[in-house]
Protein backbone atom coordinates (compact mmCIF):
# COMPACT_ATOMS: atom_id res chain seq x y z
CA UNK A 1 0.00 0.00 0.00
CA UNK A 2 1.08 3.50 -0.71
CA UNK A 3 2.23 5.51 2.25
CA UNK A 4 2.36 9.22 2.28
CA UNK A 5 5.87 10.77 2.30
CA UNK A 6 6.85 10.88 5.89
CA UNK A 7 9.58 13.40 6.09
CA UNK A 8 10.11 13.17 9.82
CA UNK A 9 10.49 9.43 9.71
CA UNK A 10 13.18 9.65 7.07
CA UNK A 11 15.08 12.18 9.08
CA UNK A 12 15.12 10.11 12.22
CA UNK A 13 16.16 7.10 10.21
CA UNK A 14 19.14 8.96 8.96
CA UNK A 15 20.04 10.18 12.38
CA UNK A 16 19.85 6.76 13.92
CA UNK A 17 21.91 5.15 11.18
CA UNK A 18 24.35 7.74 9.90
CA UNK A 19 26.55 5.12 8.33
CA UNK A 20 23.76 3.60 6.24
CA UNK A 21 24.83 2.37 2.82
CA UNK A 22 24.71 5.02 0.11
CA UNK A 23 21.37 5.17 -1.65
CA UNK A 24 23.08 4.98 -4.94
CA UNK A 25 26.23 3.18 -5.97
CA UNK A 26 27.42 2.74 -9.51
CA UNK A 27 29.86 -0.07 -10.16
CA UNK A 28 31.82 -0.73 -13.36
CA UNK A 29 29.05 0.69 -15.46
CA UNK A 30 29.58 0.55 -19.21
CA UNK A 31 27.10 1.65 -21.81
CA UNK A 32 27.37 1.03 -25.52
CA UNK A 33 24.99 2.57 -28.01
CA UNK A 34 25.29 1.41 -31.62
CA UNK A 35 28.58 -0.30 -30.65
CA UNK A 36 29.90 3.06 -29.50
CA UNK A 37 31.34 3.10 -26.01
CA UNK A 38 29.37 5.95 -24.43
CA UNK A 39 30.02 5.41 -20.72
CA UNK A 40 33.33 3.89 -19.74
CA UNK A 41 33.70 2.00 -16.52
CA UNK A 42 31.85 4.39 -14.27
CA UNK A 43 32.32 3.94 -10.54
CA UNK A 44 30.54 6.34 -8.24
CA UNK A 45 29.06 6.43 -4.79
CA UNK A 46 26.54 9.19 -4.53
CA UNK A 47 26.52 10.61 -0.99
CA UNK A 48 23.15 10.52 0.74
CA UNK A 49 21.18 13.64 1.52
CA UNK A 50 23.29 15.91 -0.57
CA UNK A 51 23.33 17.35 -4.03
CA UNK A 52 25.77 15.88 -6.50
CA UNK A 53 26.25 17.77 -9.74
CA UNK A 54 27.38 16.04 -12.88
CA UNK A 55 29.25 18.40 -15.15
CA UNK A 56 31.08 17.97 -18.41
CA UNK A 57 31.16 19.08 -22.01
CA UNK A 58 28.23 18.50 -24.32
CA UNK A 59 27.95 14.95 -25.55
CA UNK A 60 30.15 13.46 -22.83
CA UNK A 61 27.37 11.18 -21.56
CA UNK A 62 25.72 13.03 -18.70
CA UNK A 63 22.16 12.41 -19.84
CA UNK A 64 23.00 8.81 -20.64
CA UNK A 65 24.38 8.29 -17.14
CA UNK A 66 21.28 9.78 -15.57
CA UNK A 67 19.00 7.62 -17.67
CA UNK A 68 20.85 4.43 -16.82
CA UNK A 69 20.24 5.18 -13.15
CA UNK A 70 16.52 4.99 -13.79
CA UNK A 71 16.61 2.23 -16.39
CA UNK A 72 15.10 4.61 -18.88
CA UNK A 73 17.39 3.36 -21.59
CA UNK A 74 15.92 -0.14 -21.50
CA UNK A 75 13.81 0.43 -24.57
CA UNK A 76 16.41 2.28 -26.62
CA UNK A 77 17.75 0.89 -29.81
CA UNK A 78 21.00 -1.06 -30.02
CA UNK A 79 21.99 -0.56 -26.44
CA UNK A 80 24.16 -2.67 -24.23
CA UNK A 81 24.61 -1.99 -20.54
CA UNK A 82 27.05 -3.84 -18.29
CA UNK A 83 27.98 -3.37 -14.67
CA UNK A 84 25.63 -2.58 -11.87
CA UNK A 85 23.73 0.24 -10.25
CA UNK A 86 22.87 -0.40 -6.64
CA UNK A 87 19.93 1.34 -5.05
CA UNK A 88 19.96 0.68 -1.32
CA UNK A 89 22.31 -2.17 -2.04
CA UNK A 90 20.06 -3.80 -4.63
CA UNK A 91 21.27 -4.10 -8.18
CA UNK A 92 18.65 -2.54 -10.43
CA UNK A 93 20.15 -4.34 -13.42
CA UNK A 94 19.82 -7.73 -11.77
CA UNK A 95 17.78 -10.22 -13.78
CA UNK A 96 14.92 -10.37 -11.32
CA UNK A 97 14.81 -6.63 -10.59
CA UNK A 98 11.33 -5.16 -10.90
CA UNK A 99 11.63 -2.07 -13.02
CA UNK A 100 8.53 -0.08 -12.05
CA UNK A 101 9.43 -0.43 -8.41
CA UNK A 102 12.95 0.86 -9.09
CA UNK A 103 11.75 3.82 -11.07
CA UNK A 104 9.30 4.80 -8.38
CA UNK A 105 12.22 5.33 -6.04
CA UNK A 106 13.62 8.02 -8.29
CA UNK A 107 11.97 11.26 -9.28
CA UNK A 108 13.03 12.58 -12.65
CA UNK A 109 13.03 16.24 -13.58
CA UNK A 110 13.79 16.62 -17.23
CA UNK A 111 15.14 19.56 -19.20
CA UNK A 112 11.76 20.80 -20.31
CA UNK A 113 8.63 20.30 -18.25
CA UNK A 114 6.28 17.64 -19.58
CA UNK A 115 2.95 17.80 -17.80
CA UNK A 116 0.75 14.80 -18.41
CA UNK A 117 -2.27 15.58 -20.61
CA UNK A 118 -4.60 16.10 -17.66
CA UNK A 119 -5.43 18.61 -14.93
CA UNK A 120 -3.01 20.07 -12.40
CA UNK A 121 -4.59 17.98 -9.67
CA UNK A 122 -4.48 14.77 -11.69
CA UNK A 123 -0.87 15.35 -12.66
CA UNK A 124 0.16 15.11 -9.05
CA UNK A 125 -2.39 12.51 -8.07
CA UNK A 126 -1.40 10.29 -11.00
CA UNK A 127 1.61 8.70 -9.30
CA UNK A 128 -0.09 7.95 -5.97
CA UNK A 129 -3.14 6.62 -7.86
CA UNK A 130 -1.23 4.10 -9.93
CA UNK A 131 0.48 2.96 -6.76
CA UNK A 132 -2.87 2.20 -5.19
CA UNK A 133 -3.99 5.32 -3.35
CA UNK A 134 -7.61 6.09 -4.17
CA UNK A 135 -8.80 7.74 -0.99
CA UNK A 136 -10.03 11.18 -2.03
CA UNK A 137 -9.07 12.87 1.22
CA UNK A 138 -5.55 11.52 1.18
CA UNK A 139 -5.12 12.46 -2.47
CA UNK A 140 -6.31 16.00 -1.76
CA UNK A 141 -3.83 16.18 1.06
CA UNK A 142 -0.96 14.89 -1.08
CA UNK A 143 -1.71 17.35 -3.86
CA UNK A 144 -1.92 20.26 -1.47
CA UNK A 145 1.25 19.31 0.38
CA UNK A 146 3.30 18.74 -2.73
CA UNK A 147 2.12 21.96 -4.32
CA UNK A 148 3.05 23.80 -1.15
CA UNK A 149 6.35 21.97 -1.15
CA UNK A 150 7.27 23.50 -4.50
CA UNK A 151 5.71 26.86 -3.74
CA UNK A 152 2.94 26.50 -6.29
CA UNK A 153 -0.07 26.18 -4.04
CA UNK A 154 -0.94 29.85 -3.78
CA UNK A 155 -0.62 30.29 -7.53
CA UNK A 156 -2.84 27.40 -8.57
CA UNK A 157 -5.15 26.54 -5.68
CA UNK A 158 -8.15 28.07 -7.46
CA UNK A 159 -7.61 26.21 -10.69
CA UNK A 160 -6.53 22.74 -9.68
CA UNK A 161 -8.82 21.23 -12.28
CA UNK A 162 -7.57 23.29 -15.19
CA UNK A 163 -5.27 21.75 -17.72
CA UNK A 164 -1.68 21.68 -16.53
CA UNK A 165 -0.46 22.83 -19.92
CA UNK A 166 -2.02 26.23 -19.23
CA UNK A 167 0.62 26.99 -16.62
CA UNK A 168 3.74 28.96 -17.44
CA UNK A 169 6.89 26.97 -18.19
CA UNK A 170 8.38 27.78 -14.79
CA UNK A 171 5.18 26.74 -13.04
CA UNK A 172 5.05 23.58 -15.12
CA UNK A 173 8.58 22.68 -14.08
CA UNK A 174 7.66 23.09 -10.43
CA UNK A 175 4.53 21.04 -11.04
CA UNK A 176 6.67 18.31 -12.55
CA UNK A 177 8.89 18.37 -9.49
CA UNK A 178 5.83 18.10 -7.25
CA UNK A 179 4.52 15.25 -9.38
CA UNK A 180 7.78 13.40 -8.97
CA UNK A 181 7.85 13.98 -5.22
CA UNK A 182 4.30 12.72 -4.84
CA UNK A 183 5.36 9.12 -5.40
CA UNK A 184 7.67 9.40 -2.42
CA UNK A 185 11.01 8.79 -4.12
CA UNK A 186 14.34 8.59 -2.35
CA UNK A 187 16.42 10.03 -5.11
CA UNK A 188 15.83 13.01 -7.38
CA UNK A 189 17.43 13.08 -10.80
CA UNK A 190 17.52 16.39 -12.64
CA UNK A 191 18.76 16.77 -16.21
CA UNK A 192 19.49 20.44 -16.83
CA UNK A 193 16.18 21.04 -15.13
CA UNK A 194 16.49 24.80 -15.17
CA UNK A 195 17.81 25.35 -18.66
CA UNK A 196 14.40 26.33 -20.03
CA UNK A 197 13.63 28.68 -17.17
CA UNK A 198 14.09 32.36 -16.49
CA UNK A 199 16.51 33.43 -13.74
CA UNK A 200 13.81 33.79 -11.11
CA UNK A 201 12.19 30.41 -11.75
CA UNK A 202 15.70 28.95 -11.86
CA UNK A 203 16.40 30.34 -8.46
CA UNK A 204 13.10 29.02 -7.12
CA UNK A 205 13.94 25.53 -8.33
CA UNK A 206 17.50 25.75 -7.01
CA UNK A 207 16.31 26.83 -3.59
CA UNK A 208 13.76 24.06 -3.59
CA UNK A 209 16.37 21.46 -4.36
CA UNK A 210 18.62 22.76 -1.61
CA UNK A 211 15.65 22.54 0.75
CA UNK A 212 14.83 19.05 -0.39
CA UNK A 213 18.26 17.59 0.09
CA UNK A 214 17.64 16.97 3.76
CA UNK A 215 15.13 14.34 2.70
CA UNK A 216 16.41 13.19 -0.64
CA UNK A 217 19.59 12.27 -2.44
CA UNK A 218 19.82 14.55 -5.44
CA UNK A 219 21.77 14.25 -8.66
CA UNK A 220 21.77 17.16 -11.07
CA UNK A 221 23.20 17.36 -14.53
CA UNK A 222 24.12 20.90 -15.34
CA UNK A 223 25.99 22.93 -17.91
CA UNK A 224 26.28 25.92 -15.67
CA UNK A 225 29.32 25.83 -13.42
CA UNK A 226 27.96 28.64 -11.30
CA UNK A 227 24.84 26.62 -10.70
CA UNK A 228 26.89 23.61 -9.70
CA UNK A 229 28.78 25.87 -7.33
CA UNK A 230 25.61 27.39 -5.87
CA UNK A 231 23.70 24.23 -5.16
CA UNK A 232 25.92 21.19 -5.05
CA UNK A 233 27.88 19.54 -2.30
CA UNK A 234 29.73 17.21 -4.63
CA UNK A 235 30.70 17.38 -8.25
CA UNK A 236 31.47 14.64 -10.74
CA UNK A 237 33.24 15.69 -13.91
CA UNK A 238 32.66 13.51 -16.95
CA UNK A 239 34.75 13.73 -20.05
CA UNK A 240 34.27 11.48 -23.03
CA UNK A 241 32.26 8.99 -21.05
CA UNK A 242 34.74 8.70 -18.19
CA UNK A 243 34.57 10.16 -14.72
CA UNK A 244 37.75 12.16 -14.46
CA UNK A 245 37.10 13.76 -11.14
CA UNK A 246 34.77 13.37 -8.21
CA UNK A 247 34.88 15.28 -4.97
CA UNK A 248 33.56 18.08 -2.82
CA UNK A 249 32.37 21.08 -4.79
CA UNK A 250 35.16 23.46 -3.69
CA UNK A 251 37.83 20.86 -4.31
CA UNK A 252 36.72 20.11 -7.82
CA UNK A 253 36.10 23.70 -8.77
CA UNK A 254 39.04 25.31 -7.00
CA UNK A 255 41.70 22.64 -6.86
CA UNK A 256 41.00 20.13 -9.59
CA UNK A 257 43.59 17.38 -9.73
CA UNK A 258 43.01 16.41 -13.31
CA UNK A 259 44.37 18.62 -16.05
CA UNK A 260 41.31 18.37 -18.26
CA UNK A 261 39.09 19.25 -15.33
CA UNK A 262 41.26 22.30 -14.74
CA UNK A 263 40.80 23.43 -18.29
CA UNK A 264 37.06 22.80 -18.18
CA UNK A 265 36.61 24.64 -14.92
CA UNK A 266 38.57 27.57 -16.24
CA UNK A 267 36.29 27.64 -19.23
CA UNK A 268 38.72 26.42 -21.84
CA UNK A 269 36.61 23.44 -22.84
CA UNK A 270 32.90 23.87 -23.16
Amino acid sequence: MYSYPNIEKQQTENITSPLSTPHLQIKNLNVYIDEKHILKNINLEIPNNSITSIIGPSGCGKTTLLKTLNRLLDDSKNIQITGSVLVNGEDIYAKNAEVTHIRKKMGLLSQRPFPLPMSIFDNIAYGPRIHGEHNKKILNQIVENQLKNVGLWEEVKDRLHHYASQLSIGQQQRLCLARGLAVNPEIILGDESTSALDPISTQTIENLLVDLKKDYTIILVTHILRQARRVSDYIAFIYNGEILEFGKTEEVLLHPRNEITQQYVKGFIS
Partner: protein
Amino acid sequence: MTNNINSRLRKEKIAKVIMQIAGFCIIGSLFLIVGIILYKGVPYLSWDMITETPKGGFYIGKSGGILNAILGSLYLASAATLLAIIIGIPISIYLNLYIKSDSIISRSAKLMFDVLYGIPSIVYGAIAFSIMIWLGIRASLLGGILTITLLTIPIVVRTVDELIKTIPEDLKNVTKSLGATRWESSLILLKYIKTGLFTAMLLAFGRAIGDVAGVLLTTGFSDNIPKYLDEPAATLPLAIFFQLSSPIPEVQGRAYASALILTCIILIIVICTHILTSKNNKQKI
Protein backbone atom coordinates in the same frame (compact mmCIF):
# COMPACT_ATOMS: atom_id res chain seq x y z
CA MET B 1 24.43 39.05 -53.42
CA THR B 2 21.32 40.69 -54.90
CA ASN B 3 21.43 38.14 -57.69
CA ASN B 4 21.32 35.39 -55.12
CA ILE B 5 18.37 36.98 -53.39
CA ASN B 6 16.55 37.34 -56.69
CA SER B 7 17.04 33.73 -57.64
CA ARG B 8 15.89 32.63 -54.20
CA LEU B 9 12.80 34.78 -54.45
CA ARG B 10 12.13 33.36 -57.88
CA LYS B 11 12.29 29.82 -56.50
CA GLU B 12 9.93 30.85 -53.76
CA LYS B 13 7.50 32.19 -56.34
CA ILE B 14 7.71 29.11 -58.54
CA ALA B 15 7.08 26.86 -55.55
CA LYS B 16 4.10 28.96 -54.59
CA VAL B 17 2.60 28.80 -58.08
CA ILE B 18 3.05 25.03 -58.24
CA MET B 19 1.34 24.63 -54.90
CA GLN B 20 -1.50 26.87 -55.98
CA ILE B 21 -2.00 24.95 -59.22
CA ALA B 22 -2.05 21.66 -57.33
CA GLY B 23 -4.49 23.11 -54.84
CA PHE B 24 -6.81 24.34 -57.55
CA CYS B 25 -6.69 20.99 -59.33
CA ILE B 26 -7.71 19.12 -56.19
CA ILE B 27 -10.41 21.55 -55.20
CA GLY B 28 -11.58 21.75 -58.81
CA SER B 29 -11.93 18.01 -59.18
CA LEU B 30 -13.71 17.81 -55.85
CA PHE B 31 -16.20 20.39 -57.03
CA LEU B 32 -16.53 18.54 -60.32
CA ILE B 33 -17.36 15.27 -58.57
CA VAL B 34 -19.78 16.85 -56.15
CA GLY B 35 -21.24 18.90 -58.98
CA ILE B 36 -21.91 15.89 -61.16
CA ILE B 37 -23.43 13.95 -58.32
CA LEU B 38 -25.64 16.89 -57.42
CA TYR B 39 -26.60 17.62 -61.01
CA LYS B 40 -27.48 14.07 -61.85
CA GLY B 41 -28.67 12.93 -58.45
CA VAL B 42 -30.76 15.72 -56.96
CA PRO B 43 -33.68 15.33 -59.41
CA TYR B 44 -34.05 11.72 -58.30
CA LEU B 45 -33.59 12.36 -54.63
CA SER B 46 -36.76 11.85 -52.68
CA TRP B 47 -37.90 11.13 -49.21
CA ASP B 48 -38.76 7.63 -50.36
CA MET B 49 -35.14 7.05 -51.34
CA ILE B 50 -33.99 7.18 -47.75
CA THR B 51 -37.04 5.83 -45.96
CA GLU B 52 -38.13 2.92 -48.13
CA THR B 53 -36.68 -0.41 -49.04
CA PRO B 54 -36.80 -1.46 -52.71
CA LYS B 55 -40.28 -2.50 -53.76
CA GLY B 56 -40.88 -5.04 -56.48
CA GLY B 57 -39.63 -3.58 -59.75
CA PHE B 58 -37.44 -0.97 -58.07
CA TYR B 59 -34.57 -1.87 -60.33
CA ILE B 60 -36.64 -1.29 -63.44
CA GLY B 61 -37.73 2.11 -62.26
CA LYS B 62 -40.68 1.43 -59.99
CA SER B 63 -41.09 2.85 -56.50
CA GLY B 64 -39.00 2.21 -53.42
CA GLY B 65 -35.75 3.39 -51.85
CA ILE B 66 -32.38 2.29 -50.68
CA LEU B 67 -32.89 2.29 -46.93
CA ASN B 68 -31.70 -1.33 -46.95
CA ALA B 69 -28.37 -0.28 -48.42
CA ILE B 70 -28.01 2.81 -46.20
CA LEU B 71 -28.56 0.78 -43.04
CA GLY B 72 -26.54 -2.13 -44.35
CA SER B 73 -23.60 0.12 -45.03
CA LEU B 74 -23.89 1.93 -41.71
CA TYR B 75 -24.09 -1.32 -39.75
CA LEU B 76 -21.22 -2.80 -41.65
CA ALA B 77 -18.92 0.20 -41.53
CA SER B 78 -19.61 1.04 -37.88
CA ALA B 79 -19.12 -2.51 -36.69
CA ALA B 80 -15.98 -2.98 -38.78
CA THR B 81 -14.51 0.34 -37.63
CA LEU B 82 -15.26 -0.45 -34.02
CA LEU B 83 -13.66 -3.88 -34.29
CA ALA B 84 -10.67 -2.52 -36.18
CA ILE B 85 -10.10 0.11 -33.50
CA ILE B 86 -10.50 -2.40 -30.69
CA ILE B 87 -8.04 -4.77 -32.33
CA GLY B 88 -5.77 -2.30 -34.09
CA ILE B 89 -4.91 0.08 -31.23
CA PRO B 90 -3.68 -2.66 -28.89
CA ILE B 91 -1.63 -4.15 -31.73
CA SER B 92 0.02 -0.82 -32.34
CA ILE B 93 0.60 -0.21 -28.64
CA TYR B 94 2.16 -3.63 -28.36
CA LEU B 95 4.45 -3.13 -31.33
CA ASN B 96 5.60 0.31 -30.23
CA LEU B 97 5.40 0.51 -26.48
CA TYR B 98 5.54 -3.03 -25.16
CA ILE B 99 8.33 -4.44 -27.25
CA LYS B 100 11.21 -2.42 -28.63
CA SER B 101 10.03 -0.73 -31.78
CA ASP B 102 13.22 -1.74 -33.57
CA SER B 103 13.03 -5.40 -32.60
CA ILE B 104 12.72 -8.00 -35.33
CA ILE B 105 9.18 -8.92 -34.29
CA SER B 106 8.05 -5.31 -34.34
CA ARG B 107 9.72 -4.51 -37.63
CA SER B 108 8.47 -7.59 -39.42
CA ALA B 109 4.98 -7.05 -38.07
CA LYS B 110 5.01 -3.50 -39.34
CA LEU B 111 6.24 -4.66 -42.72
CA MET B 112 3.41 -7.15 -42.78
CA PHE B 113 0.86 -4.47 -42.00
CA ASP B 114 2.28 -2.33 -44.78
CA VAL B 115 1.75 -5.19 -47.19
CA LEU B 116 -1.75 -5.84 -45.87
CA TYR B 117 -2.48 -2.15 -46.27
CA GLY B 118 -1.58 -2.37 -49.93
CA ILE B 119 -3.48 -5.54 -50.82
CA PRO B 120 -6.57 -4.69 -52.84
CA SER B 121 -9.84 -5.44 -51.14
CA ILE B 122 -10.96 -7.90 -53.80
CA VAL B 123 -8.22 -10.20 -52.54
CA TYR B 124 -9.56 -9.95 -49.00
CA GLY B 125 -13.01 -10.62 -50.40
CA ALA B 126 -11.88 -13.62 -52.39
CA ILE B 127 -10.00 -15.17 -49.48
CA ALA B 128 -12.82 -14.53 -47.05
CA PHE B 129 -15.25 -15.94 -49.59
CA SER B 130 -13.31 -19.16 -50.02
CA ILE B 131 -13.04 -19.56 -46.25
CA MET B 132 -16.77 -18.99 -45.96
CA ILE B 133 -17.49 -21.63 -48.58
CA TRP B 134 -15.19 -24.02 -46.82
CA LEU B 135 -17.01 -23.40 -43.54
CA GLY B 136 -20.34 -23.59 -45.28
CA ILE B 137 -21.39 -20.03 -44.40
CA ARG B 138 -23.38 -18.02 -46.87
CA ALA B 139 -22.81 -14.39 -47.72
CA SER B 140 -23.92 -12.38 -44.72
CA LEU B 141 -23.54 -9.17 -42.77
CA LEU B 142 -21.18 -10.95 -40.39
CA GLY B 143 -18.99 -12.16 -43.25
CA GLY B 144 -18.82 -8.63 -44.57
CA ILE B 145 -18.05 -7.12 -41.19
CA LEU B 146 -15.20 -9.53 -40.59
CA THR B 147 -13.75 -9.03 -44.05
CA ILE B 148 -13.92 -5.25 -43.81
CA THR B 149 -12.47 -5.38 -40.30
CA LEU B 150 -9.46 -7.23 -41.66
CA LEU B 151 -9.23 -4.63 -44.38
CA THR B 152 -9.29 -1.70 -41.97
CA ILE B 153 -7.05 -3.05 -39.20
CA PRO B 154 -3.87 -2.20 -41.14
CA ILE B 155 -5.14 1.37 -41.56
CA VAL B 156 -5.68 1.73 -37.84
CA VAL B 157 -2.36 0.10 -36.95
CA ARG B 158 -0.34 2.24 -39.32
CA THR B 159 -2.08 5.47 -38.37
CA VAL B 160 -1.68 4.84 -34.66
CA ASP B 161 1.96 3.89 -35.34
CA GLU B 162 2.57 7.29 -36.82
CA LEU B 163 0.76 8.94 -33.93
CA ILE B 164 2.84 7.13 -31.35
CA LYS B 165 5.99 8.29 -33.12
CA THR B 166 4.93 11.89 -32.45
CA ILE B 167 4.91 11.35 -28.68
CA PRO B 168 7.98 13.04 -27.20
CA GLU B 169 10.45 10.60 -25.69
CA ASP B 170 10.47 12.70 -22.52
CA LEU B 171 6.74 12.26 -22.00
CA LYS B 172 7.19 8.49 -22.21
CA ASN B 173 9.93 8.83 -19.63
CA VAL B 174 7.66 10.80 -17.31
CA THR B 175 5.15 8.02 -16.82
CA LYS B 176 7.90 5.45 -16.63
CA SER B 177 9.81 7.33 -13.99
CA LEU B 178 6.67 7.67 -11.90
CA GLY B 179 6.68 3.91 -11.77
CA ALA B 180 3.86 3.30 -14.22
CA THR B 181 3.62 -0.08 -15.86
CA ARG B 182 3.71 -0.24 -19.63
CA TRP B 183 -0.06 -0.55 -19.68
CA GLU B 184 -0.58 2.49 -17.45
CA SER B 185 1.89 4.47 -19.55
CA SER B 186 0.08 3.44 -22.70
CA LEU B 187 -3.22 4.75 -21.39
CA ILE B 188 -1.69 8.17 -20.74
CA LEU B 189 0.01 8.22 -24.10
CA LEU B 190 -3.27 7.30 -25.80
CA LYS B 191 -4.78 10.28 -24.09
CA TYR B 192 -2.01 12.41 -25.51
CA ILE B 193 -2.78 11.29 -29.08
CA LYS B 194 -6.54 11.20 -28.59
CA THR B 195 -7.37 13.66 -31.35
CA GLY B 196 -5.29 11.65 -33.79
CA LEU B 197 -7.25 8.55 -32.87
CA PHE B 198 -10.41 10.18 -34.19
CA THR B 199 -8.63 10.65 -37.49
CA ALA B 200 -7.66 7.00 -37.50
CA MET B 201 -11.28 6.13 -36.88
CA LEU B 202 -12.39 8.40 -39.69
CA LEU B 203 -9.95 6.87 -42.16
CA ALA B 204 -11.06 3.40 -41.21
CA PHE B 205 -14.74 4.29 -41.49
CA GLY B 206 -14.22 5.96 -44.84
CA ARG B 207 -12.51 2.92 -46.26
CA ALA B 208 -15.07 0.58 -44.73
CA ILE B 209 -18.16 2.34 -46.01
CA GLY B 210 -16.78 2.88 -49.48
CA ASP B 211 -15.49 -0.57 -50.18
CA VAL B 212 -17.15 -2.57 -52.96
CA ALA B 213 -14.90 -5.48 -53.74
CA GLY B 214 -14.62 -6.70 -50.17
CA VAL B 215 -18.36 -6.92 -49.66
CA LEU B 216 -19.26 -8.12 -53.14
CA LEU B 217 -18.66 -11.79 -52.38
CA THR B 218 -18.95 -11.82 -48.62
CA THR B 219 -22.01 -9.74 -47.79
CA GLY B 220 -24.14 -10.41 -50.81
CA PHE B 221 -27.11 -8.19 -51.44
CA SER B 222 -30.63 -8.09 -50.13
CA ASP B 223 -33.67 -5.93 -50.51
CA ASN B 224 -34.45 -6.30 -46.85
CA ILE B 225 -33.00 -4.45 -43.93
CA PRO B 226 -30.68 -6.94 -42.22
CA LYS B 227 -32.07 -8.05 -38.88
CA TYR B 228 -29.50 -10.66 -37.99
CA LEU B 229 -25.81 -11.00 -38.59
CA ASP B 230 -26.21 -14.14 -40.67
CA GLU B 231 -28.44 -12.49 -43.25
CA PRO B 232 -27.08 -11.05 -46.44
CA ALA B 233 -27.13 -7.27 -46.50
CA ALA B 234 -27.12 -4.53 -49.08
CA THR B 235 -24.43 -1.88 -49.10
CA LEU B 236 -24.46 1.55 -50.68
CA PRO B 237 -21.52 1.14 -53.07
CA LEU B 238 -23.04 -2.07 -54.42
CA ALA B 239 -26.43 -0.44 -54.69
CA ILE B 240 -24.86 2.34 -56.72
CA PHE B 241 -23.06 -0.20 -58.87
CA PHE B 242 -26.18 -2.22 -59.64
CA GLN B 243 -28.30 0.80 -60.43
CA LEU B 244 -25.65 2.41 -62.54
CA SER B 245 -25.31 -0.64 -64.76
CA SER B 246 -29.02 -0.48 -65.61
CA PRO B 247 -29.96 0.93 -69.01
CA ILE B 248 -33.04 2.65 -67.57
CA PRO B 249 -32.45 6.40 -67.05
CA GLU B 250 -34.66 6.50 -63.95
CA VAL B 251 -32.57 3.83 -62.28
CA GLN B 252 -29.31 5.47 -63.37
CA GLY B 253 -30.48 8.71 -61.88
CA ARG B 254 -31.18 6.97 -58.62
CA ALA B 255 -27.62 5.65 -58.70
CA TYR B 256 -26.40 9.25 -58.56
CA ALA B 257 -28.88 10.03 -55.82
CA SER B 258 -27.48 7.07 -53.89
CA ALA B 259 -23.97 8.38 -54.42
CA LEU B 260 -25.14 11.70 -53.07
CA ILE B 261 -26.50 9.99 -49.97
CA LEU B 262 -23.22 8.13 -49.46
CA THR B 263 -21.31 11.39 -49.83
CA CYS B 264 -23.56 13.07 -47.29
CA ILE B 265 -23.03 10.27 -44.78
CA ILE B 266 -19.28 10.64 -45.12
CA LEU B 267 -19.58 14.42 -44.86
CA ILE B 268 -21.58 14.13 -41.64
CA ILE B 269 -18.97 11.77 -40.17
CA VAL B 270 -16.14 14.12 -41.18
CA ILE B 271 -17.87 17.11 -39.62
CA CYS B 272 -18.57 15.22 -36.41
CA THR B 273 -14.93 14.16 -36.19
CA HIS B 274 -13.81 17.73 -36.72
CA ILE B 275 -16.05 19.01 -33.99
CA LEU B 276 -14.83 16.33 -31.63
CA THR B 277 -11.16 16.92 -32.39
CA SER B 278 -11.29 20.68 -32.16
CA LYS B 279 -13.11 20.42 -28.85
CA ASN B 280 -10.39 18.14 -27.59
CA ASN B 281 -7.59 20.27 -29.00
CA LYS B 282 -8.78 23.22 -27.03
CA GLN B 283 -8.55 21.24 -23.84
CA LYS B 284 -5.15 19.74 -24.48
CA ILE B 285 -1.89 21.44 -25.31
